[in-house]
Symmetry: none
């Protein structure tokens, strides 16, 4: 019996409230003997840890460095080895593109072609405004390819989303992207028999778009990656009987939250905006996913100091969260992003759960090493959700 089935059977609706604060990429590695989290001054998180149960989570399993998709799905209680997501669907959902079951989406880049070679896969990171104009131009000139409707949705800088709508489209396609510069354009290749029609449509599309763009020397072609159809995930409401809301300001995370049926709340760019949104909407939902991006971005930039500061900034907002008196407050990350590695990593995430039904352990500082000594031990992130629901008293007994 899967957790999914168990959840549907034993979850109950209660007035209790849950806040899951995700400090993206929080876990790190020591530089000068301390990790970013160890080096940061975090009096509120430490005080919270002292009253909480702590542990370390592996997003997928030991050794696996997850993308944001599997890392978040696991945190929401969805087996990341069962629910595999394409990058296209995440970008599409995050950009607010409606995706239905006959749609195929992909992530696009405007790119620069010269003498038959892709010399810049990002077209010099053109301004978003230029991207918007290009998408508008393409939208009005190209509405369908062999009966398949196409639509363009501009993103930031050189990025856009393209949606193909029609019967029988398949996402078993390789990326139409040479991956490296100074290579010729790469066609999408059908990875299964049933995708051969879709591959023809996509490649025909790519030729037409390249032709339409031939007079824009810098942005005279496009690359497409992460072809995906809409994955059908059960919603958090179906599984857990929750009324969940997401407070996030990056497309990817809004997309992930929408995928599991969360309502996406309008919010601003700053941490204070996220908190304002949580406070304003607190009575209307019983599960809040709050996503802080800066910790991850700083780690990806290899900026130890900026990551440390981002953690300290988040720490200053903890009192506003505890003031809401949630029945469960969990603080963790989706994956680690050590400044040392400048990328996501396989290292486990510090995890803290505060509720009145937990026995505080001996952890008094919120850090990677200290959490390894916590009551929860080291566990797979997919078990965070059952634990959170249990502490919110939203799970009945399993079995007689």
């Amino acid at each position: 019996m899967s957790w999914e089935k168990i959840a549907q059977e034993i979850s109950i609706e209660t007035p209790s409230k849950i806040i899951l604060l995700v400090l993206d990429g929080l876990g790190g590695l020591p530089i000068k003997k301390e990790t970013e989290l160890e080096a940061a001054y975090t009096p509120h998180l430490d005080r919270l840890a002292a009253k909480s149960v702590c542990g370390l989570t592996d997003p997928v399993f030991m050794g696996i460095t997850p993308g944001s998709g599997p890392a978040h799905l696991a945190l929401f209680g969805y087996d990341p080895l069962k629910y595999l997501l394409g990058r296209g669907i995440l970008e599409a959902l995050g950009s607010g593109v409606e995706v239905g079951k006959n749609d195929l989406v992909a992530r696009g880049n405007f790119a620069t072609l010269k003498d038959g070679l892709v010399i810049d896969r990002r077209a010099g990171r053109i301004p978003t405004s230029e991207n918007e104009k290009l998408c508008q131009r393409l939208s009005s000139s190209l509405k369908s390819i062999g009966g398949v409707r196409v639509a363009f949705y501009p993103g930031k800088e050189h990025r856009f989303v393209v949606k193909f709508s029609g019967e029988g489209l398949s996402d078993a396609l390789s990326d139409a992207d040479p991956q490296k510069e100074n290579m010729p354009r790469a066609p999408a290749q059908a990875l299964s028999q049933k995708a051969s029609k879709t591959a023809r449509v996509v490649n025909n599309f790519l030729d037409k778009v390249t032709d339409l763009l031939k007079d824009s020397p810098k942005t005279n072609t496009v690359l497409l990656r992460g072809f995906s159809k809409y994955p059908s995930l059960p919603t958090m409401s179906e599984l857990y009987k929750l009324k969940p809301a997401a407070i996030a300001n990056y497309p990817m995370y809004k997309g992930l939250a929408r995928l599991v049926g969360m309502e996406i709340l309008d919010t601003g760019q700053n941490l204070s905006d996220l908190l304002d949104t949580a406070e304003k909407n607190y009575k209307n939902y019983d599960f809040f996913y709050i996503h802080v991006k800066k910790t991850d971005s700083a780690g990806e930039d290899g900026n130890f100091e900026a990551k440390k500061e981002a953690i300290e900034e988040a720490d200053r907002y903890i009192p506003r969260l505890t003031a809401l008196q949630p029945d469960v407050l969990a603080v963790t990350s989706d994956h680690s992003t050590p400044s040392l590695l400048k990328s996501h990593s396989w290292h486990p995430n510090p995890f803290l759960l505060f509720s009145k039904t937990s026995q505080p352990d001996k952890v008094t500082k919120f850090s990677e090493i200290e959490c390894s000594q916590g009551y929860l031990g080291r566990f797979q992130a997919v078990y965070a959700m059952p634990l959170i629901l249990a502490h919110a008293q939203k799970l009945k007994k399993f079995g007689a």
Copy 2:
């Protein structure tokens, strides 16, 4: 999605190097308040532990005492509950017997029959030279049974390997061994319909061999155990894009390593030989499995002192391993062999991983109890390989 599939998708070839040192049967139980590992003077392992992440592994899962087969497969990243190996195949591969897909192998014992009863299942542990002569005699007198070719390969003392070659042979056979002494010979029994022809061939073989040996009173019959066909395992190169080498001096471990596609390096009987071999071949491979047997043999003999000394001897060679500056050095055992129990046991294995991408934990002594406080916690041994590969930076991100 299985680890196997994930591995194939995300593993990459890199110049980084891995050493996996297996101190067979290392884990123990206290006699006079200390385990063998605690009692041993291990300054090098302790210093290494202080710079490493530590943990405890369960070879299969808690409570399961594994044979060498499942214990090693798990360490190499192969699910021991999925890949089940017969003892015969291990002995065969370890003895350098070529096994193909139409072959069936078994482990044989010369034994003593008297008045219709097996009175010594090991024929008084005859000298290896006598075994070799017997195998030669049998080889020349018995070349096939009902169209199935047979071949004999002498091992040590009373042990040999027999190989049956022919179409449609099955390994669904019970052992042709009464298991206890003073019992009649036991025929091989077909455990499934499709094995009935094979059972007839094997039993016919046993009768013929017993007849051929009737004039050697001490070695006048044979017992066969562990019937096995060649299991098709993906190789470590296919799964992990590694070029792996094994440095081991016992047939069983060489056999296991060959099964997962490792190259078996020629080496000698002593620890110094193993190290010489590692040093000499260091530039030619990127994964080295080094197997130390003595720790296990001493445990099996119930010799606490000898096991302690074997651990101390291994400790003295640690500096030669660290001098090679591998990107990952992991030290662990395949299973525990407490002197107290004189056998393999279900107790977990101390595990240590040293690499520059790990945050050292608080463990400063390499022992069972200390490792239980390590950053890695307690985990199934099958996750050791993903962890090792991650730390060698041989795994890309999983999912977008």
